[in-house]
Symmetry: C7
Subunit: 274 residues, 7 copies
Amino acid sequence: MDFLDLEGMLSNLVSIGGQLLLLIIVYVIVAPIGRKAISKAMGHVAKRQKLNEGRKKTLENLLLNVFTYVLLFFFIVTFLGILGIPLAPVLAGAGIVGLAVGFGAQGLVSDIVTGFFILIEKQIDVDDYVTAGGHDGIVEELGLRTTQLRGFDGTLHFIPNRYIQAVNNHTRGNMRALVDMGIGYSENIDQAMEILQNVCDRFREDDRIKEGPDVVGVQSLGSSDVVLRVIAQTEKMLQWEVERDLRKAMKEALDDAGIEIPFPHRTIVQKETE
Amino acid sequence: MDFLDLEGMLSNLVSIGGQLLLLIIVYVIVAPIGRKAISKAMGHVAKRQKLNEGRKKTLENLLLNVFTYVLLFFFIVTFLGILGIPLAPVLAGAGIVGLAVGFGAQGLVSDIVTGFFILIEKQIDVDDYVTAGGHDGIVEELGLRTTQLRGFDGTLHFIPNRYIQAVNNHTRGNMRALVDMGIGYSENIDQAMEILQNVCDRFREDDRIKEGPDVVGVQSLGSSDVVLRVIAQTEKMLQWEVERDLRKAMKEALDDAGIEIPFPHRTIVQKETE
Amino acid sequence: MDFLDLEGMLSNLVSIGGQLLLLIIVYVIVAPIGRKAISKAMGHVAKRQKLNEGRKKTLENLLLNVFTYVLLFFFIVTFLGILGIPLAPVLAGAGIVGLAVGFGAQGLVSDIVTGFFILIEKQIDVDDYVTAGGHDGIVEELGLRTTQLRGFDGTLHFIPNRYIQAVNNHTRGNMRALVDMGIGYSENIDQAMEILQNVCDRFREDDRIKEGPDVVGVQSLGSSDVVLRVIAQTEKMLQWEVERDLRKAMKEALDDAGIEIPFPHRTIVQKETE
Amino acid sequence: MDFLDLEGMLSNLVSIGGQLLLLIIVYVIVAPIGRKAISKAMGHVAKRQKLNEGRKKTLENLLLNVFTYVLLFFFIVTFLGILGIPLAPVLAGAGIVGLAVGFGAQGLVSDIVTGFFILIEKQIDVDDYVTAGGHDGIVEELGLRTTQLRGFDGTLHFIPNRYIQAVNNHTRGNMRALVDMGIGYSENIDQAMEILQNVCDRFREDDRIKEGPDVVGVQSLGSSDVVLRVIAQTEKMLQWEVERDLRKAMKEALDDAGIEIPFPHRTIVQKETE
Amino acid sequence: MDFLDLEGMLSNLVSIGGQLLLLIIVYVIVAPIGRKAISKAMGHVAKRQKLNEGRKKTLENLLLNVFTYVLLFFFIVTFLGILGIPLAPVLAGAGIVGLAVGFGAQGLVSDIVTGFFILIEKQIDVDDYVTAGGHDGIVEELGLRTTQLRGFDGTLHFIPNRYIQAVNNHTRGNMRALVDMGIGYSENIDQAMEILQNVCDRFREDDRIKEGPDVVGVQSLGSSDVVLRVIAQTEKMLQWEVERDLRKAMKEALDDAGIEIPFPHRTIVQKETE
Amino acid sequence: MDFLDLEGMLSNLVSIGGQLLLLIIVYVIVAPIGRKAISKAMGHVAKRQKLNEGRKKTLENLLLNVFTYVLLFFFIVTFLGILGIPLAPVLAGAGIVGLAVGFGAQGLVSDIVTGFFILIEKQIDVDDYVTAGGHDGIVEELGLRTTQLRGFDGTLHFIPNRYIQAVNNHTRGNMRALVDMGIGYSENIDQAMEILQNVCDRFREDDRIKEGPDVVGVQSLGSSDVVLRVIAQTEKMLQWEVERDLRKAMKEALDDAGIEIPFPHRTIVQKETE
Amino acid sequence: MDFLDLEGMLSNLVSIGGQLLLLIIVYVIVAPIGRKAISKAMGHVAKRQKLNEGRKKTLENLLLNVFTYVLLFFFIVTFLGILGIPLAPVLAGAGIVGLAVGFGAQGLVSDIVTGFFILIEKQIDVDDYVTAGGHDGIVEELGLRTTQLRGFDGTLHFIPNRYIQAVNNHTRGNMRALVDMGIGYSENIDQAMEILQNVCDRFREDDRIKEGPDVVGVQSLGSSDVVLRVIAQTEKMLQWEVERDLRKAMKEALDDAGIEIPFPHRTIVQKETE
């Protein structure tokens, strides 16, 4: 290195600084304009194609996402170019740096590939309730690299797409409401089933319920109770509400009929103290 | 870059835009036509080859699936080609990008290879009840890359084929109904087995049952009860129903005969308060 | 692309279509003939070499399997060849596609290698009862790529061979029947062992039993009972039946002798209410 | 090696020593100046862009972090250069050393890539309460390579970014306070729900609470109690406090109304000593 | 392909068929001769070198194993050679097929390397009782690729050597017999230890016991009993037998001395019904 | 090989032996001198830079560590060089040996990279109490490749740095003391909280305590008790001591006030013997 | 192959046979001599360097180990050389075989690298009591590839060094003896601590104890007892003995003072039969 040509270096620095400034200004102007344009265009398309709300949000988010990353990518490449660090040879090289970068970046590619297919196969839409990558919640954003879920406890989960092995979508059709009622071993099973079925019949008119509810039979002989199972098909996301209402109604019906819902039993054998 | 040849760039942009528009139009026309053609052709073939319904749906889904992906692939390649980004050299190159893409895409290849063999080996048909990749449900679609299962609780599971290690198909033959009945330690085992066998004999005529049911013997000596096991072979998907009916009938038979189904026992030794 | 030479393209398409048709016809004719020939040849060989039934089925299945895959492979190669897509350069290339395919296909090679050794080392025969890859059942088919097990509950398990880490074959020799009997702490151990040994002696003549049964001693001092262990060697697959019969006989013998099989005990210390 | 040219070696050593000294001096001077400059610049930018405190700290930490590592990198390269060990050929080579280094360093690249996206996607800000990589706590620093969390028990967790699979951010919106109250099976459910709802209504004015609280219904029929669930939306980080207050108020309200919060029940069946 | 030179193809086929036949005949003759020769040679060597039985069987099995695989390898290579498929270029190539095969076969190499060292380091001999790869049993065969263990329940485990991480050999020296005896909290510990030590002294002459048994002291203060531990060194494989005998003798000795072996205790506090 | 030129070989051997001897002597002299020089230099630097004791020990250990490995490396290279085995081509080659070595050594590089960053980021100092790689203890030495922790039970843990995923440093700030006190369901919660707060106030003056302690409220409604939580911030490493003292004082205070700390409760329902 | 030059082949075979014989004879002579020489040399060095016994055995074992493997390596290479199979090109090649071997052998290299550092860093000596790779026991041999531990139950564990992630050495300094004593809730804590401290003081003179024992305070408030913790530092490997003696002495001291060691408590609430 030649430490002496200070003047040349300075003028050089000034020139570089100017270019960087220009670059940043362009970036700052282009970014918000592009984002607005995308949002607007998306609105038009959604209206004409009659996309539902969730799908529209999904696509809009994604396009914004792609736009941001592409812009960022060009920004970085240009930035480095101005500084005189060409990215191409580094990316093309196969030395250690290349190897390390290649391995390190493989996660990124996996994220994008997985995300691409999640979108293409319509596995997830914004506002769906899904389980993915060990977390569950309402989808807030489906990004190129990361999916954001809002958990029921308010937590926002950021899940890189590659960690999403299987998507369990809980909002693609009716859901099942399932209530297990345990009755005493000495009760008459037929009578209990009839009482529960009567409760079920009262619920049949409920708007939230699509099918059933029905008593399906003796699910198991527990250690202290005979378990009867009731199943219904409900509107999606309303299964918990229906279960709560069914549980309350059936408990009260059994109480009214004097049928025991037993506590854990224990048979005691007294042994003579030896 | 030369920022000044605006005119040339514009005319260039227009030309590119026109080509892209044409491409999109072609895509929009070809896609639905192809899909209908496949469905129709499939219908004819299914009739002639007397394929059962499940197999027919499986193949139809798959062909549509393949068709969509192939079309998409050509769409993307052409799209990039129009934009002047040739895909071939990227795919052939072995630099960092290539490495990262290769590694990242390896999951995709695994998906397709696994899916191909699941189909070829007829492991799964649409409407089968299977366990795969840690989820179980009715197969809704068997795709090139993803298998869709509808869980009993209504959830739709999207499982990339590579995560399907072993397929457990519960609809390839008769299924077993198994009921364990615990009787008191002081009861006569022979008498209890006779009573249960009588119940079994009543079920023997049942259309849902293919073999048995039969009392196979003393399965275990539990901490509070002697466990007798009853086994039957049933029509597929009806095993739970049969188990519920058997359970109810056998519980009532034991009750009628005055044979105790015991609660958990505890023998109490009173110790003099020291 | 030249969109104008429609005539040439058409005649080209017709020619290709004809070849494909021919290919499919040949395939449809050759496949069943080959399969029958293999089955017949296998029958002759099996008779002459005095192979047992399981081994014969294993080999026949495998040969049919290999035949199907080889045929399929040539079918696909020829098919692609007719369409003008040569497979060789793709397979030989080392670009991204090659890399991805190589990695993705490595599972397939593992399957075949593992399957090959399972066969060569005679680890599994059709109709054996084995545990492999986390599932257990009767072997229905041992394929080049996949092993099929029929679980006792009727489920058919398809297990890619590579997921079979260790094979546990439960039908290669006699099996052990093991029954643990708990007696009260206040009973005489010698007397109880004598009574159980008497039961064992009655079973000694049983055809299903190869060795024993015998009382081996005090296996453990449980929290409420003294556990005596009885062991026998039985004909394979009959161990559960023998265990059930032994359990019933020994329980009844202890009852007759007035020896207690205790419930869980608890010693209660009453504390003065403070 | 020529062991004799001691003089030349000495003068050489002196020259090298001098250069190293100069390098260290430059480093010692540049480092603190650079850090101060960054902090100041960050302060100005934060004011003008109206960044919130957390984001400001995040960016400042990160810039200092990047600055330190870049400086360190140039320091090491220059250092080795003075000693006559050029780094470039080693990094470019593909021999064993290169291979080992490439593999070994891949973790480092993963750290940086992941960290970069955590920042870009604003998954974490300093002072957020997050769960990441199996630990949870308040973010103290978000670095290029490592994220530091302060656990509630005072422990400082250093988590390399690559081990952060999914980020769960508990401070991105309101949080849920959830209290389950168990009442006796013999109590009137409607009455209990009314009492609890009254308590909820008293809390409605609470500043910390954004929505609710409300009794949602019978969550489950436990083995000894009927469980009623109360849910509220609270200011972030105040959910535990609200839960504690709700729990106390509702317990006291049930006590006042004479509604039982039951202990675990057991039904005892006395058996005649045999 | 030229479909017309049928004559040439036929004569070609005949020639190939003849060669294959010759190959198979040679194989069928050479295989059994070689196996017998190895067994005999092994017998001579074993006698002269005074190898113990287990080692002899191990080596004989292994040599037969190696012989079989080498023969098989040459058979396959020759077979493919006759069919005109040279194996060498495939094995040497580095295309996709090569890559896939290389990765797929790496398990095989791992098996052989591990097996080689298990043998060289004498970790296992035939008839040893070992735990390896998650299974335990008596070694039936130690092969080049697979180790066969016979479990105590009669199952034959085939474990590819690569899955054997650590070998636990239970037959390389004396084994420990360990019995824990719980006595009541109100008993005199010194007295109980003396009584147990007396039992131990009676066992001291036992041929199966190499050292001890001895009472080592108060191992723990359990929730209901004071646990005394007795330890002995026994002949290998006899530890369970010795433990059973010790357990019986010590239980009877404590009974004779009137020292309580307590059931689980519970102190009950009666609360006034509120 | 020429077995006859014994004379030449001998003189060769002598020459080599002499060189090796010289090498060993140099090594034996240089090693201790270098170590002492480092320790001394470190002492001076530590004084001038006012490093705290832990940091000083950390750096000294590390420098000695690096010195030892560098010396060892040159020793081995020279040793092999004298024997005529040049290391360079082996390290540069890319054959099988190279591949195996490269993969095998990658763990070593990971160790060093991780260790380097643990040091640079000051995650650990000697004498810190940390949890790392699944073990916890006081740091005894932070090496280039291995970190040594002294567990509280006296065990010395050697942890290769690569297995240290996240470092949890328990000595970087105050620690939390947390005590949960369960009181009876029939007690007055306000009164109990007042009593506990009084105890807390007495502790407020304690030197070991930095903040609090305070009663934060009703943490949970247990199955038999109402749990009150007390939290304090203490000097690091003194949290357990403070917790023990708090626990004793609060237990005694509740006793004095006659507030019950309940045993597990059970409500018993007597059932008429059927 | 030319099947006719039988004479030439025979003379060739004889020549090869002779060379192999010579090789085996040389091996059989050199091996034991080398081993004895190493043992002797080691004895001298150990005396002069005053190595402790464990270190001496470690080094001797290791040298014998290295010697055996090096000899074996040359034996195999020469053996193959005589048979005309040169190993070098195979090892240098990068075809499939090379790839597979390289991957397969990578475990071997890992073993050696890890073993080398375990030795160099003196993590383990023969006769140490360590936990490594999931097993614990006394080190019997520390080899180049495998470490042998003798478990306390007599099992000999062979652990390939690569599976040793972290070494926990329990014989590098004093060990902790820890005894928890539970006393009744109604007992006076101060009095109980005084009594226990008295017992501790009696033990203070014990040779096996290096520090303490001391009562550190109320460790926890259990569900039925107040737990007091006693800690001591003991000579290594004697901690269990000391714990047993402490436990006995403290139990007897509490008994003498009439302080209750409580059984699990349960508070019973009688409910009127409804």
